[in-house]
Amino acid sequence: MTDFMLMQRRDALKSLLAISAAGAMAACVGEGKAGDAGTKRLSSSPKLLPAEMALVSAVAQTIIPKTDTAGAVEAGVPAVIQSLFTEWGDDNFRSYWRAGLDNLEQHFLKSGGQPFANMTSSQQANLLGKYDAKAYAEQGFDDFYKSMKSTIATAYYMSEPGATEELAYEAVPGEWRGCVPLSEFPKTWAT
């Protein structure tokens, strides 16, 4: 890879976790619209609370379910997100996530009548599928959700099952072949 391409790759990675003031504002606005959260005080715990973790796990597993390979939960994605929350991010990051998760939960409470994590998997897939489609179709609908989804995907495809079972990974390729049959290497390279 040239340095120019690495540069692009890095920008992509950076954007996964980027939090802008504008993004945080948008999440707050969404939260107000979604329900009564605007008047509610959100936790300032340095850890994601059990209810928040349940939502993260359910959303992650709905986006990347278990098939013949691990899903997001089996691959340890929720633990990575908890670690980003407790060890990596600053207060701005934590309040962005907390507000964003609360907004999501309020939305699903309203549309599904119960916390997202308590729904059946088909209800989860149905409701999140609609929400997801809207998030990518409408600019600014929920930037937090898109950022969370990118983080979930990164955590999954960097995990051992995600990289080595779902995708293909060679720690030491040892050789370069610029033009090989897809039939020989049918899977996306993990990295």
Partner: protein, 568 residues
């Protein structure tokens, strides 16, 4: 009697070469490095798998903001590479009002030879004649023919992968086998060259051992394992660095002393004999000072640090610092200009659908300069080249879809994408300079660097055309859904951003307008040599490290010749 025959200030790309050549000529050499030692088994992070990294290999957010505000903008910044870069909080610098400068560097044995992007291109006869031809800067005191044997010399030792093309604008190196194109690149090349018969898309030329030679293996270096982890340090020694190649070669002569953690504050100078007698160093940990003496001094501390050391070496008889009778030390600061880039999708063909790649090539394609060569430039002199690649898309979380379908969409390789960016030549301009700050000092009591450099009209006009040409080339390659710098107000990159700083002690024919002669020897002081980027008389548009290597080998051998003859 002096402590050493020669002192080499700096252990990076160029200092390693000087040390190797002088040691192999039998001189006792002391390399002085301001940073810490580099221990590959401890400092290289290339043996980790993606899942070994905490927090997705991200640097802690507050640490990045507080300590690496400038360095963290490097393209390969991550938790496992941050130790190669200085803490901005500990190593500040200043910029003149209304100017900006990005100075990225690392303080450790090997310097930026450990973090470089390894792209290696010769300058051409056209480049060496450029100043003379269009009147900017001063004429190089050497010609391509003077440099060619030194390119041969360093390439065979360092190991440069590439393919001979016989191009006048980009002379061939002594090549190791090439890293082949992807099928997407073969198609893009055919289409671009059909549309533009005088433009070429060639294989990137890089300092990775595609097949290690016996000479390289004897130094403990192995062939490239195609992991694309070079920026973490390579445990196989498969890309060229001081640590993998030149310093071990110097070490095995028994003539090398490597002094770490010693910051060179100034040169010691004897006005009666007009010689530098050594250097005064400050221990970066204890702040203790001492003097190290030698009969020859080489500055290889980088174009910024070498220029500052000279300017800080002031005395009543040399109020502007040493080797600076021309007043050119610190001036003509150059880099390469970026800001023209683009990418797009290459729609599938029956051939492309069925093909993919194996391995992670640490390289890409190169499009040599065509403006002001085979095609006219629009309102500027000199030119630019492009680096890029064509690959199948990988996984992405930044797209719609949930569930099995989303998973499946990532499991199969995606479309083919082309991306590329330009590097353009910056003219030598005396107004672009670095000087010691008049009042502000670092924790060792040394003046902070004060940068005063701008991109000027030639650079602006050049990068605007490079941006337009990017889209033209992408379209010629058949790309669609093009995103490029043309979507924005095209602006040249910030000075320093290409990490190719050079020109601050330029070579030239006239001692009144240049610092170094054709031997890279100070016009003023015969036993002082400078062969880092400072020496460059013009910048060309190619990545410069290969030229620093050739100039360093050339300078070291001239110095050894003069020393043996008793002339210095």
């Amino acid at each position: 009697m002096a402590d050493f025959d020669a002192i080499v200030v700096g252990s990076g790309m160029s200092g390693g070469w000087v040390a190797k050549e002088l040691c192999e000529r039998g001189l006792k050499v002391c390399v002085i490095e301001r940073g810490k030692s580099t221990i590959p088994t401890e400092d290289y992070t290339d043996m980790m798998d993606p899942w070994d990294y905490p927090n997705l290999n991200k640097v802690h957010e507050s640490e990045e903001k507080d300590h690496y505000a400038i360095q963290s903008s490097i393209y390969n910044w991550s938790a496992d590479t941050k130790h190669w870069w200085v803490k901005d909080s500990e190593h500040p610098y200043e910029t003149a009002e209304g100017t900006e400068y990005t100075w990225r560097r690392g303080y450790h044995v090997g310097g930026r030879s450990l973090m470089w992007a390894r792209q290696s291109y010769r300058l051409s006869a056209i480049d060496i004649l450029a100043n003379k031809t269009d009147g900017h800067g001063v004429d190089w005191p050497i010609r391509y023919e003077d440099l060619a044997p030194w390119y041969d010399h360093v390439e065979e030792f360092a190991g440069i992968s590439g393919q001979a093309e016989g191009l006048e604008i980009l002379p061939d190196s002594k090549f190791l086998p090439v890293f082949e194109f992807t099928c997407g690149e073969e198609l893009a090349r055919d289409r671009i060259e059909a549309k533009f018969p005088t433009r070429r898309m060639i294989h990137g030329r890089c300092a990775n051992l595609r097949r290690a030679t016996p000479e390289q293996q004897a130094l403990g270096r192995g062939s490239c394992q195609v992991r694309n982890k070079c920026h973490k340090g390579c445990s196989f020694g498969a890309y060229f660095s001081s640590v993998s190649a030149t310093l071990p070669a110097a070490e095995r002569t028994g003539n090398l002393t490597l002094m770490t953690d010693q910051i060179v504050a100034e040169l010691e100078y004897n006005g009666d004999t007009n010689r530098v007698t050594g250097v005064r160093v400050i221990n970066r940990n204890t702040k203790a000072t001492k003097t190290v003496t030698a009969n020859i001094v080489f500055l290889n501390a980088s174009a910024i640090a070498s220029a500052l050391i000279l300017q800080n070496s002031k005395s009543a008889e040399n109020p502007n610092g040493l080797a600076n009778s021309s007043g050119m030390v610190g001036r003509n600061l150059m880099d390469h200009v970026g800001g023209a880039w683009g990418s797009g999708r290459i729609p599938m063909t029956p051939e492309l659908t069925e093909k993919t790649t194996y391995g992670r090539r640490p390289n890409g394609f190169y499009i040599p300069r065509f403006r002001n060569h085979t095609e006219e430039g629009d309102g500027y002199v000199r030119g630019f080249g492009y680096q890029g690649g064509v690959h199948r898309g990988g996984w992405s979380g930044d797209k719609s879809g949930v569930g099995k379908d989303f998973k499946a969409s990532n499991q199969t390789p995606g479309d083919w994408y082309i991306s590329m960016g330009a590097f353009g030549e910056i003219l030598p301009d005396e107004r672009n300079r670095v000087t010691p700050h008049p009042t502000k000092k670092d924790q060792w009591g040394l003046p902070l660097p004060l940068f005063d450099a701008r991109m000027r009209q030639n650079e602006i006009n050049l990068i605007k055309q490079a941006s337009k040409d990017t889209v033209e080339l992408l379209k010629a390659a058949g790309a669609v859904d093009i995103r490029s710098s043309e979507d924005y107000d095209v602006q040249p990159s910030r000075p320093g951003n290409a990490i190719h700083e050079m020109g601050t002690a330029r070579m030239g024919r006239d001692p009144k307008t240049s610092v170094l002669n054709k031997y890279l020897q100070s016009h003023d002081i015969p036993n002082l040599f400078i062969s880092d980027g400072s020496a460059m008389t013009s910048a060309a548009c190619q990545n410069p490290s290969l030229t620093y290597m050739a100039l360093s080998a050339k300078a070291a051998n001239h110095a050894a010749d003069f020393y043996e003859a008793g002339e210095i």
